[in-house]
Every structure is written in C-alpha cells, then in structure tokens.
C-alpha cells in the first residue's frame, strides 16, 4: 500500500517536470501561427556578471544586531536598478573560539571552498574578521576589495597601510550614555559598567575605560567584569535607584559560558532597580532605558554604499575609510516611566520608543468616530440653539407686529367712533356750560338762591365725571401701552363697551342692547383686546344694517356661561346676514364685503381670540342677520399669554 502510494506520487512529479520541459517547444510550434510572423526578439543585452560579495563575520551572524545590519545591507545592495550581487557568508565565531585555536583550520577550509570562486568584495565584520581578511587576502581572495564594519577605532591601525580597503568604523559612545544617565537623573553618583570576558567584550570594556578615564565630576565609575552572569545579576539587584548601569556586551563570563549579550541585559535590567544605559540600538526593548547609539541598520546601509563606491571606482582607486556615524539618542518610554525618569529631560532629537499606548494610537478610528460624533452633535446643538433663538426672535417680532396691528386697528375703530364720541362729550360739556351760565345769573341777584347753586354745582360735578368716564373709555380703546391678562368681569366689560359705542349706535339710529343671564362672569383675559373684539363685531353689525329700515336696526349682545366651560359672547344683528360664499373667508385678512372696509377687523379679532385660546365663529341667525360667537376658555385653561407690548 505504502509503496504503491509513493510510486503514484513519483509519477505525478515526473509528469509535471515533463510538461514544464516541453512547454517552450510547444509554444514555438503552435500550429496555425506561421513562423515568420513571429518578430525576431531583440538580442538580449548580456546579463551583467554579479558581484560576488563574501560576508566574513568574526562573530555570530544570528545575533540580533547582525541580523538587523545584514538585512539593511542586503536591502540596499539588492534594491531595484542596482548591480546584481551574489552574497556568500562565512562565520569565524572568534568571539567564542580564540583565534589561535581556529585560524589555521579556518584558512585551510576557506582556501578549499573558494579555490575556484572569484570574490569581488570581502565584507569584514568586526575587528578579528578584518585582521583575518587582511592576513589571508592574497592567498584566499587575491582580487577582493575589503569593506569592514563594526570595527572600533583602536583596531584600525593596520588598515591605513593596506590597499583596497575601506569601511565603516564604529565608535561606541560611552560618554554620551553616561551623560544621558546624568541628564535623566542628576542625582546619579555611581555608574556601573558591565562587560564580559571574551576578546570582543574586552575590546568594548577597554574602549569604555578609555572614554571614561576622566569621569564627570561627582560620578564614580565601577567596572564589573570579573563575575559570572548569575553573580552579576545578583549584584545588579542590590544597586540603588540613583545608580546607573552602563551595559556593554557579555559574550562570555568568568565561568567560560557564552551568552547572547541581549539576553544577559534582559536579566540584569529585570533584576536591577537602577536604569540601564548602553551604546547599541539592538538593546532597545531588552531592558535598556536609554542609550547613545550607533544604529546597526544605518551601519548596514553605509556598508552597502561603500561596496557600491568601491566596485564603481576604476581599478587602483582607493576609497578612504568612512567616518564613524554620529551617535544618536534612543530611549524606552516604558522603562523611563518604570524608573520614574522624566522623559522631557531627554534631548529634543531623542527617538523615544514604546510610548505607552495612547487612546489615539490604539483606537484611532474609534476616537475619530467618537470625536466626529461629538463635534457633529455639538454643531447640531449650536445650530438648533441658533435656530431656536431666531425662531423666538421671530415669534417676539410677530407678537409685536400683531400687537401693533391690533393697536392700529383700535385707532381706526376710534376714528370711526370720533363723531359719536364727540357727541357724547358735547352733552356733558353743553350741560356744564348752561349750568355755569345759570350760576352766573344767579350770582347777579341780590339774594342768592343757595339751594339752586348747590344743585348747579352738583350737576356740574356729575357732568364732569361723565365726561371723564367717556375719555377713560376711549383712552382704553386707543392705548398702545402694555397689555396684560387679568381677571376681568366680562358682563361689566360688555356693559362698558355698550356705553362706549352706544352713541355711535344712536347716530346710526340703531338700538344696541345687551343681556346676560348672570350678574358677573370672570375670565382671565386682556381687557382692552377683548373689548376691541366686541367693538369690531358691533361696528360690523351696525355697518351691516345701514340699508335696513330704522325700526329694525337692532344689535344684541348676549353674555353667557358656556356649556363647555368658559364664556360665550354672542353678537347678533338684523342685517342681511353673511353670504354663504363669503362665510369661509370672512376671517381672512383683506377680505371685505364692505365698500370701504380694509378687511382687517375680523382677522385681527380672530387672532386676538386665538391668542386667548378661544374661538370666534360666524353663522347666520335663524331669524336672519349675522351671529358671531366669541368663546373664551375658563381662566385656568388660557394658554401662553399674549404678553407683547406695543411701543412704550
């Protein structure tokens, strides 16, 4: 079973291969396509011979730092449009295995490996690799140019005398790291430099000693290198919060065990209350609080650049050694926070990583959506408030206008009443004049009739009061001042109104009479405006009866408690009534059946009644004549007061 299955798989594989192999031939001999119809393909330019680049790493190429560096270098070398390259990688691993122990065998191995391979560039990584490449180039890769990187300046002495060598030296900025520590915590008095025992570790420590030979004033530098990693971690745990650790590399400890420096750092940083500073950017995220670093990715790109420069230059041209890249500040925000170090004490150009996730970063779209919603709502609210304010203003305007219109209408009514009002006034005035004349004559007599004089004075006083009452009534009608709701006895109001326009009715030879089933009927209304409505209705009634025989000219006003609550005031006349086609329109503005009517009276009357929450209806009486019913609601049911005031 098993054997059969394998055989079938193998068969499928073979078939696939065959198809792939045959397909170009198939394409060329496709039937129906004449061979001469296929344009001859232009001769392809000969593919450039790739540059052979050998990366010779003195350390472990899988270290995070070298992976980062290598990735950046390869990315730059193989970018589109660049000369093709083929990259070989060899590891010397001399940081863990001493050079004298492995050099001869490595040389023999590489000689065997590269006997037939042309190498254009050897990239020497770290000092030992550069030493090795310089020592054995003539034998192993005689045509190769050498580009180094990650070599500290102290190891560069020999390079100056060698041809066809260039590279990127590295300068680890221990001074800068210590400055950062003191900048973040000015109380720092002790800096502990942690390092390992491998050759490379020593190189690092030596460079640190050299840079920190004269420590900043008030700061003591300790070097912890003679301990195994466990001891190192235990010691670090006993450091104070105002101490600082300057971590270099620990590839190997005193026990001879080898380590990945980043992992050692992680343990030290976790154990120690003191913040860790360093000079390599790969330590970011492994416990380093801040560092003054020479970036590995940057170094990789510069190495690629150096390879391009070397290979593009004419043979015999030397490319000088590059300068070390300036150190830059990096920091870990979460560690700063954990050690209570102020982030704003960092230099302005410091790149801060691991900022605590802000709402904005984590929930950007939610935040945007929420903000949009909130802003939208706010705008909506503002718009609504503005609209409401505008509407209120318009309402107030409209109310003012209505009040003004009502006042104008009252003035017009007063104008119509002028003749009868003048007549009304002339009666008491005439009587007073006559009485005064009589008194004058009486006083001429030798014996004054005191009783008669008293009677005259009484009459004059009574007539003055009568004249005053007329003026008061008229003034109420024409007033433009504040109008206000109050408790008004509508029976008394009707009686008063009949007195006001009784003269006009007499002038028109009509009878104006009022009746009421009850002595008083109180409602919460605007006295002047309700009186205006009654006057409008009565004047209309008198107008309607202009053509009616004098004997039938009669207007009746009836005040009653309404069955549905409130008050009904019915004004009925003996005129011709309202034409059926006019009935639906009589309350419209500018609708008039009178030749000289403006058509505003009933419209204003209805708007006044509406504002009182009442109702004004017109019908034709059963016995003929028009019949207007003014209904006013009970006091409590009166809606929003019509409080507008005219000009004051």
């Amino acid at each position: 079973m098993k054997r059969g299955s394998r055989g079938r798989h193998a068969g499928v594989a073979w078939a696939l291969c065959a198809a792939l192999a045959v397909s170009p031939a198939l394409a060329q001999t496709t039937p129906g396509v004449p061979a001469h119809a296929v344009a001859p393909a232009p001769a392809p330019a000969p593919a450039p011979v790739p540059w052979h680049v050998l990366v010779l790493n003195a350390s472990d190429p899988t270290l995070p730092a070298f992976i980062q560096l290598d990735t950046a270098m390869r990315g730059a070398l193989t970018a589109p449009g660049r000369h093709p390259v083929e990259i070989f990688t060899e590891t010397l691993d001399m940081f863990r295995f001493p050079r004298e122990q492995v050099e001869a065998q490595l040389r023999a191995l590489l000689a065997a490996k590269y006997a037939r391979e042309h190498i254009d560039v050897v990239v020497a990584v770290a000092g030992p690799a550069l030493e090795f490449a310089l020592a054995h180039r003539a034998e192993l890769w005689p045509a190769a140019r050498i580009v180094f990187h990650s070599v500290v300046p102290g190891e560069l002495e020999r390079v100056r005398r060698e041809p066809r060598v260039t590279g990127i030296p590295v300068r680890y900025d221990y001074t800068g790291a210590v400055d950062l520590a003191r900048r973040l915590d000015p109380a720092t008095r002790r800096v502990v430099v942690i390092g390992g025992t491998s050759d490379y570790d020593r190189t690092m420590i030596d460079e640190a000693r050299r840079q920190l030979a004269t420590p900043p004033p008030g700061v003591a530098i300790e070097y912890w290198t003679a301990a195994d990693v466990n001891q190192l971690v235990a010691d670090a745990a006993r450091l104070g919060r105002h101490d600082a650790i300057l971590y270099t590399t620990v590839f190997r400890d005193t026990t001879g065990r080898t380590f990945i420096p980043r992992e050692v750092l992680r343990r030290v940083a976790t154990a120690s209350p003191a913040p860790v500073f360093s000079v390599m950017d790969t330590y970011l995220g492994a416990g380093m609080t801040a560092g003054s670093v020479d970036g590995f990715a940057d170094r990789g790109r510069r190495t690629a650049d150096a390879i391009q420069m070397l290979m593009s230059s004419p043979p015999g041209t030397e490319v000088p050694v590059y300068g070390a890249a300036p150190a830059r500040c990096i920091a870990d925000a979460s560690n700063l926070l954990a050690h209570r170090l102020p982030q704003d004490a960092l230099p302005d150009d410091c790149a801060v990583a691991f900022e605590p996730p802000s709402l904005w970063r984590e929930y950007r779209w939610y935040v945007i959506a929420a903000l949009t919603a909130v802003i939208g709502q706010a705008l909506l609210i503002v718009a609504l408030v503005l609209q409401r304010r505008a509407r209120r203003r318009a309402e107030v305007d409209a109310r003012h206008r209505r009040a003004e219109l009502a006042h104008a209408s009252r003035l017009a009514l007063a104008g119509e009443l002028t003749a009868s009002i003048a007549h009304e006034m002339n009666q008491p005035l005439g009587a007073m004049l006559a009485n005064a004349g009589a008194a004058e004559k009486l006083l001429e007599a030798r014996e004054v009739d005191r009783n008669e004089l008293v009677a005259i004075v009484d009459d004059i006083r009574r007539d003055s009061l009568r004249a005053r009452d007329i003026i008061v009534r008229v003034r109420g009608l024409v007033t433009a001042g504040e109008v206000a709701r109050e408790e008004v006895d509508l029976v008394a109001l009707v009686a008063d109104t009949v007195r006001l326009i009784g003269g006009e009715a007499r002038r028109r030879q009509a009878v104006l009479a009022w009746t009421s089933g009850v002595p008083t009927l109180v409602a919460h209304v605007d006295r002047i405006q309700v009186q205006q409505v009654i006057v409008i209705l009565c004047m209309n009634a008198l107008d309607a009866m202009a053509e009616v025989p004098v004997s039938r000219r009669r207007v009746t006003i009836d005040v009653q408690r309404a069955a549905r609550g409130g008050v009904d005031i019915v004004v009925a006349d003996q005129g011709p009534g309202i034409a059926p086609d006019a009935l639906p329109h009589i309350f419209d503005s500018f609708f008039s059946t009178k030749r000289q009517g403006m058509g505003l009276g009933l419209s204003i009357a209805r708007s006044i009644v509406d504002a009182h929450g009442g109702k004004l209806d017109a019908t034709n009486g059963e016995a003929g004549g028009a019949r207007f019913t003014l209904h006013l609601p009970p006091a409590a049911a009166a809606p929003d007061a019509w409080t507008a005031a005219g000009p004051r």
Binding site: G430, L433, D459
Partner: protein, 209 residues
C-alpha cells in the same frame, strides 16, 4: 333781556343733564320753561295759545328733531324752533333752516348765544302770534258778512266803482253803497285801504275761501 311773562320755552332733549342745565339757564333768566324727554312727549301735550318757542335736540331716540319739526308744521299755530345738536352736520342744518327753524346751535353752546337765539325765536313768535290774532279777528268779522256783502266786498277790494259793482250784481248803486257801509262797519275799518290790507292778511292766512 326779559321777555313777556306769558312766553314759554319748550325744551325737548333726551339727555337729562343737558335738558336740566338749559332749562335752569332759561329759568334764571326769567323764562317759563317746560321740559320734554322726547319729541313724542312734546307731541302728546302740544302747547296752545301761549307765546313761546321750542329748543329741540336734533338726535333723539324715537322721532328725531327734524321729524318733530315736520309734524309741528302741520299744526295751525306753530312755535318757532331753535335746534340744538351735538354734531353740526351741514345737511341737517340746511334741512332745519329751510323748514323754518330760527337757529341751529351746536353743543356745547355758549349761554349768551343760546339766550339770544331764544329771544329771537320768542320775538318772531310774538309777531306771528300777533299776526295770527289779527287774522283771526278779520276772519271772525268776515264770517258775519252776508253773501251780498261779501260780493260787494270782493268788488271793492278788486278796485271796482259802486256803479260797476251794481251793474255786475244787478242791483241798484244805492244798495251797493249801503252794503259797502255795512261791510266797513262789520270789518271795523275806516278806509278802503285798510280794508284791502285786512283782506290781504286773510288771503295769506288762507282762511278767506
């Protein structure tokens, strides 16, 4: 200022205070005043034989002042009318004056003007009353004439000679002379000229036929 004690001023006004005031003013000036609250009340008790005048309000409930004026004009002995009104509208005043009103006063009226108007009205009333009395005497005398005497009278007033009258009537000239003397005596006149004047009064009064 003062008028004959017999003269009565009739005040017709529906407005009590106005009526009282005017009545009082007239009384203190020595007039006899009677008050009426409407034209109807006045018509119910029209004054007889008295000298006087009417102070009439133009607009009143019921018959108006102008209607009362028209009604009074139907009566044989009409009193002069002074109108008093609260509103002096031209149409009404023209109507009133055409119908013989003495004056048309607007309230409130100056007491002086009112008294003057009343005096004028009473004076005119006195003249009219006197004319009326003369006419009545003439009528009474005329009524005592025989048929023949009236025929002779007509001839005399027409300016005919006795001879002509005798010819027309077919009687003797002497008989005409006798009738003529009888007429002169009965009509209480001294001359033909007086007789003619008396007859013209009778004819104007409308009682001669």
């Amino acid at each position: 200022m003062s008028a004959s004690a017999a003269a009565v001023v009739h005040v017709v006004d529906d407005d009590a205070s106005m009526r009282t005031g005017v009545a009082r003013l007239l009384r203190v000036h020595g007039y006899d005043v009677r008050e009426y609250t409407s034209a109807g009340h006045f018509l119910l008790a029209p004054p007889r034989d008295h000298a006087g005048c009417i102070l009439l309000d133009l607009s009143m409930p019921g018959p108006s002042g102008l209607e009362l004026q028209a009604a009074l004009a139907e009566l044989p002995s009409s009193l002069p009318i002074v109108f008093l009104t609260g509103r002096g509208d031209v149409a009404s005043s023209v109507r009133a004056m055409k119908a013989g009103a003495v004056d048309f006063l607007t309230k409130p009226v100056d007491p002086e003007l009112l008294l003057q108007a009343v005096q004028t009205a009473l004076a005119r009333g006195e003249v009219a009353r006197r004319d009326g009395a003369a006419r009545a005497a003439a009528q009474r005398a005329y009524a005592q004439l025989t048929e023949r005497e009236r025929q002779v009278l007509a001839g005399v007033v027409a300016g005919q000679l006795n001879k002509q009258i005798a010819a027309v009537l077919g009687i003797a000239e002497r008989t005409v002379k006798m009738h003529r003397a009888q007429v002169m005596q009965k009509m209480d006149v001294a001359s033909v000229a007086d007789l003619v004047r008396l007859m013209s009064t009778l004819e104007r009064g409308g009682g001669a036929r």
